[in-house]
Symmetry: C2
Subunit: 267 residues, 2 copies
Amino acid sequence: MGGSIGLALQQRKLARRVVGVGRRVASLRKARECGTVTETTTRLERGVAEADLIIVCTPVADIVDRVCEAARHCPPEALITDVGSTKSRIVRELERRLRSGPAFIGSHPMAGSEKTGPAHARADLLVERVTVVTPTPRTRDADVERIERFWAALGARVVRMTPLDHDQAVAMTSHATHLVAAALAAATPACALSLAASGWQDTTRIAAGDPQLWVQILLANRPEVLKSLGQFEKSLATFRAALARGDATRLLQLLDAGKQTRDSVGS
Amino acid sequence: MGGSIGLALQQRKLARRVVGVGRRVASLRKARECGTVTETTTRLERGVAEADLIIVCTPVADIVDRVCEAARHCPPEALITDVGSTKSRIVRELERRLRSGPAFIGSHPMAGSEKTGPAHARADLLVERVTVVTPTPRTRDADVERIERFWAALGARVVRMTPLDHDQAVAMTSHATHLVAAALAAATPACALSLAASGWQDTTRIAAGDPQLWVQILLANRPEVLKSLGQFEKSLATFRAALARGDATRLLQLLDAGKQTRDSVGS
């Protein structure tokens, strides 16, 4: 994600300097080679010293600490955001810990793929995709507008929500969906895989995502994910019951409902 | 499917005449306009009268009757196949009903999409996709080889299986997968759909398929689909339990298993 944002910022001439901060020298060199950043450093305090905007793109479990660290070293007028897939816990924790100094507003660009690293960065990753911004009553209007303009400038469709509304929605559309895809892949016996055609491939595609990252995301949004999973299980049980009874009319009704919802979203 | 086969046959110069048989004059005219067939008729007995090969592309519930009807009117040396998504019931029934005359061998090209009709026909639909051929002990070797050469000539990767092995494999990779996708789409509340990004779109894509066709497929393979659904539910329950306990180690293990299976198939 960081790489794609860096590429887009340069391609759209929105930033002269894009500083990549990371721990591994090899990854930073790779990022420079791929042109996703204009310079790199392993020292966060140096990377953020002259920043206008800081985007924390670490796994969700590290976001709060990295934001706090950045806040200690960046100019007071800088704005800090993140790209984490969960928001409530992160935003709540940061409201508690960042009492003064630079402002933080949570963001979640709903894009990305199971392929990570600078080599897979794409300048158009966010174009036409939703990016959620999650201000709170304590966020200044000027800061909300500034972060919304930033994502919009990268081509994203910006949606403003509360952190909890965000977490409830993505619990179903992303997190429970991930579990379903992974559980389906895991349940498919090796002997059946030669008949795994495009339907199975689409339905399980996200199961290829990085398990380390997903464990963090799922645990960070656990109560909401369990609720969404319950809703899915209830839905599947009605399909199963209709099939078990051989009830063609009911099964048709259920498949129709699924199709209508799916059709409403588009490809 | 019929349209795509017709296009491919002409593009690859494998047939001079491709006769489209159907009930609705408007659909047949559309097929001629799209160039998927060279001629059309609403009368099956005329359409098959001089055929070398007959491919029944109706919904699964109609296949047995259409094959029997074709067998009564086609030359005795013609070969009949189908493209149905289930095989055991169809093959068993036809072995019983077709005691002499033209041979039938079941086929299942594992391709297609949620978009149907001649306007969506694609000459390369089968290229590099698996097509299953399901002979039985009563099928003559020469006929098996003939039908396998036919599908291979259209670019398909041909796999030979028993009808039951086929039905067991697709029960998981296609039929239970369809129910899971449809149940997930149906379970997603309207208010969450604005955050349905590419992950949800991929996972639920097949839920857009024609409910009428899917009811028939699911009912035709009901015992196997229910078994596969049970395996999926068991798999999902282990994921859920690990998440509910907050057991990061176990959750990682499970997600890893899903990823390994998914990675083994490719995109």
